[in-house]
Symmetry: C2
Subunit: 132 residues, 2 copies
Amino acid sequence: MAKARHSRFDCSPGCSVEAAIGLIDGKWKSVILFHLLSGTLRFNEIRRHIVNVTPRMLTNQLRELEDDGLVERKVYAQVPPKVEYSLSPLGRSMQPVLHALKAWGDSNIGLYGKPKEVPPPQQADPGERTGA
Amino acid sequence: MAKARHSRFDCSPGCSVEAAIGLIDGKWKSVILFHLLSGTLRFNEIRRHIVNVTPRMLTNQLRELEDDGLVERKVYAQVPPKVEYSLSPLGRSMQPVLHALKAWGDSNIGLYGKPKEVPPPQQADPGERTGA
DNA sequence: GCACATAGTATCAAAAAGGGTACTGCAATG
DNA sequence: CATTGCAGTACCCTTTTTGATACTATGTGC
């Protein structure tokens, strides 16, 4: 994220982890990056890839990604505007992360946004807060 | 994981990425998970690991992680309360992601939360928006 | 003339997310 | 007796993020 919303780094070992996700959180960023892994895309192409993203949001996220140096934006001075977005080398270096994320999601999330149910061992009351 | 099983589903491929990220975003979640990778911790231990986290926030994030099945919470009915947090199997399966994140952060972030500067080739005006 | 497509902006609003501080109950410690 | 530590809660507030819509400019196609 462009504005270090994620904490001030006093640098416990988790810092770099946090910093890294800080750059790819945001509702659409990771997805945008993921799509860009496959190649350069134009604004409306991304829009069509990611249903439900409004132009405002897309611009927003793309700008932040650009500001963070993960994405490159190339404008063609044509009459029907043409703007291409692609990963920068830095963005491309994010590939392992994105793949790890996707791999995890594919195997642990039921494609509906929630983690798969882990069958509880033999709990009578799985939802209890275990209050003493 | 290249193809596992095709989710015969119209969700764009980025979905699982987004879902995965959705579970570990939040200002402190990834750091908490990261610390828990090393082993079980008690509430105040985590607090001490992550400077600047307020109890409210910590509870908050831990509860969300618990709700998402990534973290397990174990309460001991002792008099000075004792609560242990540890990764669930699902949370542990996040390890590759967390490590990828950390690896990326370590090599691409200057420990101050910003991506390392990529030395610009020979640009006189690095900040231009390239407006058509 | 009119609509369409491109790549966005502008303007408004609502909802999350994050944050601070004070406070709880109880036992052991000093 | 007062204090400390544990594991949080309660309350209230600010900031950030997300969102829908409508609107811009321009050239092409009908």
